[in-house]
Amino acid sequence: MYQYNDFDRKFVKERVDQFKDQTHRFLDGQLSEGEFLPLRLQNGLYIQRMAPLLRIAIPYGTLSSKQARKLAEISRKYDKGYGHISTRQNFQLNWPALEDVPKILGELAEVEMHGIQTSGSCVRSITADPFSGVAQDEIEDARPYAELLRQWSTLHPEFAYLPRKFKIAVSGSTKDRAAVHFHDIGVIMAKDENGETGFEVLVGGGLGRTPVIGTSIRRFLPKQHLLTYVEAILRIYNQLGRRDNKYKARIKILVRALGAEKFTAMVEEEWQHLKDNPSTLTEAEIKRVSAFFEPPAYKQNADITKPSQLDENKEFSRWYLNNTKAHKQAGYRSVVISLKPTGMPPGDVSDYQMEQLADLADHFSFGELRTTKEQNIVLPDVEKSQLFEVWQVLTDNGLATANIGTINDITCCPGGDYCSLANAKSIPVAEDIQRIYDSPKTLEQIGAVDLKVSGCMNACGHHHIGHIGILGVDKKGKEFYQVSLGGGVGTDAAVAKILGPSFSQAEVAGVVKKITDLYLEQKIQDENFIDTYNRIGIEPFKEKIYAKAH
């Protein structure tokens, strides 16, 4: 993974000093709340319902074991002994004290971490496919480009006060695991007719109040132009994005207002002024950064046969099937560690578990971990013959829940339990649902279902792109939930459709059960939930759920 050089280290240190000074000035009364707000946000610090929330960047979800240990230590020392993986692959602490934050950032800097641009109206920390570099289907590793974008966007002087937050995601594969269609800018690796690598550029996607699928504004951008092109897009947005209404301030609204064609023309024109300037990537730089992401020293003669324990051990076999993924390298698999055991807030991980994961990464996965937008953790490079051992350690630490990709692998924002913007709680709803599907057999029967829960319109739980999406709404001061169906990413990018009137918290799990029941009744052969839904549409679901009791 990327290693800081002296430049990076010094930079982050100066950032820590700067924030220390800003916090002092705020506590001294020299900075008003309003003045301090964007400064703390751009260092990852929110003031929440219960306490501050500190969001620590895990750029494109890549984490070393050393960093994981530091996160564990910080959770223990400054928080309540656990943290939370966000849907943007970052790490959140829910209870740090404001006065401790500069200290925490100082400690993070020791392991090349920070909270830079994890919130606020700026270019947010870059996200990418968590299986970059190991997925069989990728065109090229997305991480070097995500890293280049990270460096370029870090404290970019022109774009620190944008109309609104700005999210960029990179995918190295058309099998999109980064939801590129739902970002302000999404770039997907592509090849032109000469076999040169570059990107397709999507703009104006997003979730939130107005979910929009991004528009492709360039089919192919040669890779050396990545930074100048993104700069052109941001320059247009910074000047013309609306600043009078925060609900209309995202770039998606601008693209819609101008029309994709006009917007594209403006970007292309701006780009003509920037194209080939010194920010154009050089072969040498692409090579230098790519070198950090070279494949680790895989065993060349790794055993390619399936682990022998699969036949004897049902639980291991279930876990193998759900939680491990095919790997580029023969004899290896990627392991997805589920942070979704029933009854725990999805995405939460304790200090102790984090340390176990760091140890596992050191012993079995070249010291590296990844975080996913589904709020799980990946050990990217595990030898097949060692999977059983890994599974045993995970089992001992409550980390072997075999539900990845199933309906119980719920993506869920912190919601009303933590977040001051929430309309409703989301964690208890996720738990109610998990409790229905309490046997491995049921989970297996229902198969692949992506269920996502958000506590309000801000859609941090990505409910719009869940096969089943659940949104907390406020109905006359009471918590209600709107259910939608049919969302998806990648080649199946779609915004889920609202089923109908919302439900009380007590009803939600029952409604979800009816939805999967109908799927089981209607499915043809080995159709997945989403295939059946796409074939029969939303009507039968509406009928089943809203049918008057006879």
Partner: protein, 164 residues
């Protein structure tokens, strides 16, 4: 009184900032910074005078609107109606970068210590610091970071093209 910071120090301000959007208001004597509307309406008078001419742009006024007249303008001031309104950063980059404006480029309005570094990087070279802000802190903040990743007006070459 707001204090002018120029060349890393508090400096005397010889410019008079004219407010108001009346197109036919009388322009005072001396070096003036007039609003865009006034400049466009009374360009000839202004340019005929022996004093220096400055124009100020509000955050909704793109420098494109004066792109053809830049050679007649000695200084441009950009207003920050709220420090969170970041349009002025792009205007400065465009003026200095694409339009090659070499006159004084001044920030005024609502900004403080924590915007200084970014303002400088985007090409501003004078800052009319609001009254309640500490000028020493603002001057110090001009060099908050020793070096930066990306290019801007203060550094035409990105870190990756320099051997650091």
């Amino acid at each position: 009184m707001p204090k002018l910071i120029k060349n890393d120090q508090i400096s005397a301000d010889n410019w008079l900032l004219v407010e108001g959007s009346e197109e036919n208001q009388t322009i005072p004597e001396g070096d003036v910074i007039v609003p865009l509307t006034l400049f466009l309406a009374q360009q000839e008078t202004l340019l005929a005078s022996s004093s220096n001419t400055g124009v100020w742009l509000d955050s909704s006024e793109s420098p494109e609107l004066i792109a053809d007249q830049l050679q007649n303008i000695d200084m441009i001031a950009i207003n920050f109606p709220a420090f969170t309104d970041g349009r002025g950063f792009s205007y400065a980059q465009i003026l200095r970068g694409r339009m090659n404006f070499t006159g004084e480029l001044r920030a005024f309005g609502d900004f403080g210590i924590d915007q200084m570094f970014f303002l400088k990087r985007c090409g501003f070279d004078s800052y009319l610091l609001p009254d309640d802000k500490d000028p020493a802190g603002a001057i110090a903040a001009l060099s908050s970071f020793t070096d930066t990743y990306q290019t801007a007006q203060d550094q035409p070459v990105p870190a990756f093209r320099r051997s650091i």
